[in-house]
Amino acid sequence: MSDSESVEKNGIEVSNEYVENGTNKLIVKCKFCGSKMLDKKSGTFVKQEKDLPLMQQETGKDAEVQNEKVNEFYHVENMYTFENIGFTHTVDNYKYLSCADCDAGPVGYYDMNTKHSFVALSRINHA
């Protein structure tokens, strides 16, 4: 994951139907088991390009981690804002976020330097 991109706050003009006044309009839930991760309006919508490891890795492909580019995140400053979430062990100064109930993930990452978390919109459900 590269650090080069700065976190750019997205204004009110949001193309995303799930974002209102810059935050998540709906509850953020696990795609697989429905576990509640974030309450309404508790994450700030940000656009930034990050490589995030795929939730399902192909096996037998050496130790190479397969990533995809993710552009839309909810920024969560305090980890205790999460309702339910798992944090992995640290890899290169990042922890990855996973569902606290079924362990699906990564649904985002936690930056050890800033202590801020970022949840990928594409990895969660809104409800």
Partner: protein
């Protein structure tokens, strides 16, 4: 967003011999219909779970030992700030049960003296391999004045209930105090240092 979204924060630890299922209690990944190889390879450090007890919204931060118990290196740094401890044994393994007493001593030595404890007899789904009766589990818990429950991380039996009960016990204990969230907000954002332990402490 600066608004506090919870009332209390409790740091909880899982303690016990290797192989008793502590990691499974924290990391449920088993018969899910998808493969989270990435997460399972790296492993879970801790989880944050929210429970509501008596109208209070409580955040539980639950830590695994990450295998430190194998080397008997659970020391003060791991226990720091812990308000509750789940002491886990495996009902199919006599030694893990016998070691509960060692772990209790270790806790006495290193943890805060008013830490709330609970004993869990895990793997209660493996009835045919059971060697520790539920009565023996209850007896040792009673002897030390600790709560007890049998659990199955695999079948998800009593896991959430155990955490709720432990949280409730902590809540009872802190009821007399003016415990606001800032007071409970302990420095837990970093894993305790992995500095070499001063001594082996539970052998």
């Amino acid at each position: 967003m600066a608004k506090k979204t919870y009332d209390l924060l409790f740091k909880l630890l899982l303690i016990g011999d290797s192989g008793v299922g502590k990691t499974c209690i924290l990391f449920r990944f088993s018969d899910n219909h998808f493969t989270t190889t990435f997460i399972s390879t790296i492993g879970i450090d801790f989880k944050i779970k929210t429970v509501e007890l008596r109208g209070k919204k409580i955040k539980l931060q639950i830590w695994d030992t990450a295998g430190q118990e194998r080397f008997h290196t659970i020391t003060t740094s791991y226990y720091r700030g812990a308000m509750g401890i789940m002491l886990v044994y495996d009902i199919t393994n006599e030694k893990t049960f016998d070691d509960i007493v060692k772990w209790l001593r270790n806790i006495d030595e290193h943890a805060n003296e008013d830490v709330e404890k609970m004993i869990l007899g895990n793997k209660c789904d493996m009835e045919e391999k059971r060697v520790i009766s539920k009565e023996r589990g209850e007896a040792i818990a009673h002897e030390h004045g600790i709560r007890f429950m049998e659990t199955s991380a695999k079948l998800n039996i009593n896991i959430d209930r155990a955490f709720s009960e432990l949280a409730e016990a902590i809540l009872d204990k802190s009821a007399g105090r003016e415990a606001d969230a800032d007071h409970a907000r302990i420095a837990v954002e970093r894993r305790p240092s992995r500095a070499p332990p001063a001594r082996a402490c539970c052998s």
